[in-house]
Symmetry: C2
Subunit: 137 residues, 2 copies
């Protein structure tokens, strides 16, 4: 990704429609494989921090503060491209994920699927979740 400029933020923000909590949904997708890794939330400051640093920063609803992905676990997300949907209330983040996106240690948070009338685990942890900080979800 080319270095994000202040103009990128200025161009983007008027096109975002934050909800009543000041948030937009953000879907992280591994840029080269297409794997959808997780869905989280961003407020205005998280969007700004992500564009300014190139490291994906969300807003943690449970902790009520900015959450730089991987800041405690080391499982960072480097931003490759930020996309916006038609009505501006959802972002698609093409990222390069280090290790596991999920706090449970799986590569993707979407590790369960409905198959054969059951909810099945379809992926195992690639990182021992005990080595991650459990607080980061």
């Amino acid at each position: 990704m080319s270095a994000p400029s202040p103009s990128a933020v200025a161009a983007l923000l008027p096109n975002l429609r934050f909800d009543r909590d000041g948030l937009v949904a953000a879907v992280a997708q591994q840029h080269d494989t297409g794997d959808v890794l997780m869905l989280a939330w961003m407020n205005r400051e998280a969007v700004e921090a992500t564009l300014a640093t190139g490291q994906v920063t969300y807003y943690s609803r449970s902790r009520g503060k900015l959450w730089r992905k991987g800041e405690s676990s080391g499982q960072t997300q480097r931003l490759v491209e930020l996309r916006v949907d038609c009505d501006g209330d959802a972002l698609l983040l093409l990222v390069d994920q280090t290790g596991a996106a999920c706090h449970t240690g799986t590569r993707s948070c979407f590790f369960r699927a409905v198959r054969g009338g059951k909810l099945e685990r379809i992926a195992e942890p690639i990182v021992d979740p005990k080595t991650l900080y459990g607080a980061e979800a």
Copy 2:
């Protein structure tokens, strides 16, 4: 997709964590290309209808009712697989999208990207939006 059974619904629902509006976020991804098509919302009835029919049904927040994707536009989504994230408040729908997922006529709703300090259109409509019903967003 194999025919969804009532047991699939029974297995899934206790694992979902609907928000204060009774909704979970749902990301639709084209099953074979990996393209992320859109983000929308489902309530309990939408999840049930999607599993029962194999046709993706969302909950329209703007219209306050179930919205069977493509019911007016013809741009339907056939469910291939439904996945759930770690904390149960987001779904990943692997789908087979007919035509355009977006009400603007583009294949994906994420047709704008931050590039070079600007918000750029990166995809053109594949269906004339005038032929779609504008109410379906």
